[in-house]
């Protein structure tokens, strides 16, 4: 998703653009792929999350089939489909997260508790059940029960905004990246922070984090244009990746774990 109001779907092997949709608002901040691969959801300063079915038919306009699903009272910072194409979880600058039914656009559950903008969310891996974690400008990471809307655990050890949260592959822990230049690992069963990934030389905020398939490596993109690779178990940095010419704003490991992709303010996506 781009700042000029467009959402683009790419083929990562051929580097070709497969689809492009122009959004009515200028700043698209969040996008997500449906589990089936047949639709995408995106949103931003328009305070909404819209779902677009993907079509390879050149005669059909994707914008025409757009469905507005979520409505918040402030910008949409993150969105994610749940296990099916039928429900979407959203996080917003209005300090709440919400679960929506895609078909009817109905609000199924709302999650109140953050004291400021919610910047990110991640769903627990399917084997572990109906919870998700969210991070916000109130420096907190909160774990929610999707069915009851209750916050089950909260963690407040970061010293600044939590920009990104990602579950450990087993679902028993999650990592968070923050503007305080650290990434931290929280264990859900011990209910506390168990590791902190930082170095005195790293002074810029971490904008995005993701784990490798086994959970041994933590990739984190920073505002100083680099990506640091951390050994999750030892707490030490394994590698530093240079290449981007501006802030790294997002990062994701591929589902099969063979590669990861980073997106940056330098207008490129690198695999």
């Amino acid at each position: 998703s781009l700042q000029d109001g467009k959402v683009i779907v790419w083929d990562s092997f051929t580097t070709n653009k497969e689809h492009a949709v122009t959004m009515p608002c200028t700043w698209v901040m969040a996008c997500a792929y449906a589990p089936s691969g047949c639709a995408i959801a995106c949103g931003g300063l328009d305070n909404k999350c819209s779902v677009y079915p993907l079509t390879f038919d050149k005669n059909e306009s994707m914008a025409a089939k757009k469905k507005s699903v979520a409505m918040h009272t402030n910008y949409l910072s993150a969105c994610s489909f749940t296990n099916s194409d039928m429900q979407i979880l959203t996080a917003s600058g209005d300090g709440t997260c919400a679960l929506w039914d895609v078909e009817s656009g109905q609000l199924l559950q709302s999650f109140h508790g953050h004291g400021a903008d919610v910047l990110c969310l991640d769903l627990a891996p399917s084997e572990t059940g109906n919870t998700f974690v969210s991070g916000g400008c109130d420096k907190k990471s909160m774990v929610w029960d999707m069915r009851s809307g209750q916050c089950v655990q909260a963690f407040e050890t970061h010293e600044s905004d939590v920009n990104s949260v990602r579950y450990y592959p087993s679902g028993d822990a999650f990592a968070s990246g923050s503007d305080d230049a650290t990434c931290r690992l929280y264990d859900l069963r011990a209910d506390r922070e168990v590791a902190i990934y930082s170095k005195e030389s790293i002074i810029f905020g971490a904008s995005s984090v993701d784990f490798s398939l086994s959970g041994r490596l933590l990739f984190a993109g920073y505002n100083d244009y680099t990506i640091n690779v951390w050994d999750v178990l030892k707490g030490a940095r394994v590698s530093i990746l240079f290449g981007h010419e501006n802030r790294v704003s997002t990062l994701r490991v591929s589902p099969d774990g063979t590669a990861f992709c980073s997106g940056s303010w330098d207008h490129t996506l690198r695999v």
Partner: protein, 71 residues
């Protein structure tokens, strides 16, 4: 004046309720939790292509060298 103090009282009440709920949680010792994280990692290490590199023939991102034959 009084409405702002009542909202902050109700907010404080909610916070106390939330903390009471969280205090009742069953917690696992960090030594146990850490051991479990380690065990998961060890168990899945072999499946991780970024830790144990896959042979070049199966790597979709390998450098592609095409050899041309002159007919």
């Amino acid at each position: 004046m009084s409405s702002s103090s009542t909202t902050s009282i109700s907010q404080a009440r909610k916070a106390v309720e939330q903390l009471k709920m969280e205090a009742c949680m069953d917690r696992v010792k960090v030594s146990q939790a850490a051991a479990d994280l380690l065990a998961y990692c060890e168990a899945h290490l072999r499946e991780d292509p970024l830790i144990i590199p896959v042979p070049a023939s199966e790597n979709p991102f390998r450098e592609k060298k095409f050899f041309c034959t002159i007919l």
